[in-house]
Amino acid sequence: MTPKLKIILLTPITLILMLAIKLFIPAEENVKTEKEYLWTLKTHNPDKFDIIIMGDSRIYRGISPEYLTKKLPETTAINLGFSSAGFSNLYFNFAEKKLKKESKNKVILIGISPHSLTPSALKNEELKSYLNKSKTDVFKIISLANVYKTANSIMPSQIINNLSFTNKQYKKYNQEFYTNGWVKSSNEKPNINIALYKYKNIFTNNKVSEEAINNLSIQINKWTKKGIKVICFRPPSTIEMEQLEDSLSGYNESEISRKIITNGGYWININSKNYVSYDGSHLHYESAIKLSEKLGLNIKELLNQRNSNLTKERF
């Protein structure tokens, strides 16, 4: 075969091969591509909302803005949760800019996990990585999303999974990303002990910072003065995880809630017993929906009572 013929034949052969790959290995959502696109979108999209949801991965997996606003007509919400997010000024400023200025029902819903108050979380590395993306990168990621999705990168485990006629042993973790910031998550083989080991290490040299709690309280005070309702809660996980966090992280829920209420915020008590986690840290999507609906009702109750003489105390 002459080199010229090889050059001519290369394109059709490559296309046939690509088609074969697409046919035999069904397209599965690529988590990285999907997350990169949606996280870039939620960071750089100029849209504004009535309700802003803040927190770490427990929040972006645990609260669906769609179910949260189900009983709140004409109210928009976005989940601005980021992996290992911490309550620093960078995060506060970013979140506040996403609030609809003209809204009469401005609400900031904050899920305060013990980790979100630690020095490592305060670095907000994931949030920073998205905020620091250049305009060219943002343009590329958003405008070429469909191209990237068509040419989704395939994992070797995915190939083995497709070739395997027996149990789909490698497919365990299911994640569905939504434009409103929620990640519908579940695991076919749930194990609530997975996160426990990880969290034991996380809190070894990384405890809840008193400074972070005070900074959060100050910010809540500022927001309240601006007429923004700030509602806080501890994201549910498992009883075992809460016990571990309480013993290792230095998280004192009653003290934190007291400071928040003193500074004009609201505190909602959530009982982890009522929810199911698939890894000991994050909620199964059915529980996430349940939690979102509960919080939605709490917000509705609060907004309906805004003209009454409601004292700022626990729900």
Binding site: T2, T14, L17, I154
Partner: protein, 472 residues
């Protein structure tokens, strides 16, 4: 601009569409190549274009003056060396040297702030500075030695110095190889074009499929995110890094050579399956060949090489290896890396053990020993500091924890390590048994391989990363 980016795809299309028009006439060709190469480089940060232009102009005029004023040629060479090594010192080594100065002052209880007094612009490392500085230096040194005639066409010189395929990560091309090629309108034959396409496809595969897919596993380990330990784990991390850096850098070199070949130019091979080497000397004849030969021709041999006797040869080799380490980065870890290679080479010269093993018919064992030595060196090369490297080495040789649990956690990454190892084994077998090569040729399997490499680069690409050698 990196090869595996949308920007480069657009840039490449524009270049190849316009190239046939510009290539026919010398001046037009040089100006076009220089202009496009500057766009390619300036895409990263246009301000650093002044650096290439500045050091290029020094060498261009020094080159001309050396021929015109032979009596002052030593002075002119010193000017060129100061210009090039000066900018390299400022932009690459100033922080490192300042830290050393601070450390020394601290020993003598003197309060110093050298490292914090460095101007901000000098802290940023311009991409590929070590590559183009060495390329530019070889031009004046060759003229000084009377081995090269300077060009009096400024764009001819700059098209050589800044030619975009190899500008930021090599291969380091010698002026006497490329200037002559740039003097004519070179028409690439169909076989050259096919070979160019092959090199680009295989280079892309090495970079985006193998190197990029391994990066997550390696980064997690060195950043301590894995929370895993044990000897098998750290050996796997080290071997994975050996293949990551090889595939990353060799991938870049292949793409650069392929792009040049497609337009009719020839860059020498930069990697020749170094992990199949049966001793370290052979390894250095196969790893980053353009840099090894640069150090051989401009450092080792001018010092005296092996001509001044066995022991002097070893001293010169140590100096060369440590300088080579320093070339890679301004950190003690790189110096230790160079020193370790020098130490292993010294042992090799004294004992000739691997040669004896090979002669006994155990070539694979010699290759394995060499690979282990190279891997130990890579730990220092990759580690953030020598304390971390020492810890990792200790873990590697502490066989009390033999856990293999990490394999399932990083299955998707380690799959590519197996692919990389299998490819090297296939290459070794193909070299050993000519029948495999004949079969490959007879059935034109190269076209299937190229198509597979392209398809895998699209569907099995890893997380987009910059080429590792850009930082050098």
């Amino acid at each position: 601009m990196i090869f595996n980016s949308i920007e480069f795809l657009i840039f490449g299309l524009l270049f190849f569409v316009a190239w046939p028009y510009f290539k026919k006439q010398n001046q037009r060709r040089w100006v076009f190549l220089t202009f496009m190469s500057f766009i390619f480089y300036g895409w990263w940060d246009w301000r650093f274009l002044f650096l290439i232009i500045g050091s290029g102009l020094i060498d261009y005029f020094c080159g001309l003056a050396i021929t015109k004023y032979p009596l002052k040629k030593r002075l002119l060479l010193i000017i060129s060396l100061i210009g090039n090594l000066g900018s390299l010192s400022v932009f690459k080594y100033s922080t490192f040297f300042a830290n050393i100065a601070d450390d020394i002052c601290q020993w003598f209880n003197i309060n110093s702030h050298f490292s914090t007094s460095i101007p901000e612009f000098a802290i940023i490392l311009p991409v590929g500075i070590s590559f183009y500085t060495f390329q530019s230096l070889s031009y004046t040194i060759d003229i000084y030695r009377g081995r090269l005639k300077p060009t009096n066409q400024i764009f001819h010189f700059f098209s050589y110095l800044s030619m975009f395929p190899q500008l930021v990560a090599g291969p380091i091309i010698r002026a006497r190889d490329l200037l002559a090629q740039l003097q004519t309108d070179r028409i690439a034959s169909p076989i050259q074009k096919w070979n160019g396409i092959k090199l680009i496809a295989f280079g892309l595969f090495q970079k985006v499929v193998l190197a990029d897919n391994l990066s997550y596993f390696i980064d997690s380990a060195f950043e301590g995110k894995g929370n895993i330990s044990g000897s098998p784990y750290w050996w796997t991390v080290t071997i994975a890094f050996a293949f990551q850096i090889y595939c990353d850098f060799s991938g870049y070199s292949l793409i650069a050579r392929g792009l040049a070949k497609y337009i009719g130019y020839h860059f020498k091979m930069n990697f020749n399956h170094p992990y199949l080497a049966k001793n370290l000397k052979m390894f250095w004849e196969r790893w980053h060949i353009s840099l090894s030969t640069w150090f051989r021709d401009y450092v080792y041999i001018p010092m005296g090489g092996s001509a001044k006797g066995f022991y002097f040869g070893i001293v010169f080799m140590w100096i060369t290896m440590i300088l080579s380490g320093l070339w890679h980065g301004a950190n003690y870890t790189f110096i230790i890396w160079g020193g370790l290679h020098a130490l292993f080479l010294t042992i090799e010269r004294f004992t000739k053990l691997k040669k004896r093993i090979t002669n006994l018919g155990f070539g694979s064992l010699a290759a394995m020993i060499t690979f282990i030595q190279v891997c130990i060196g890579w730990v220092y090369f990759r580690a953030y500091n020598y304390h971390q490297a020492n810890d990792i080495i200790a873990h590697m040789f502490n066989f009390s924890n033999l856990s293999l649990s990490f394999i399932s956690t990083y299955f998707d990454n380690l799959f590519y390590l197996w692919i990389a190892i299998i490819i090297e084994i296939c290459v070794s077998l193909r070299r050993k048994y000519s029948s495999i090569y004949t079969f490959y040729k007879k059935y034109n399997l190269d076209i299937i391989m190229v198509a597979l490499a392209i398809a895998m680069s699209i569907f099995m690409r890893g997380e987009g990363k910059q080429f590792i050698y850009f930082q050098f």
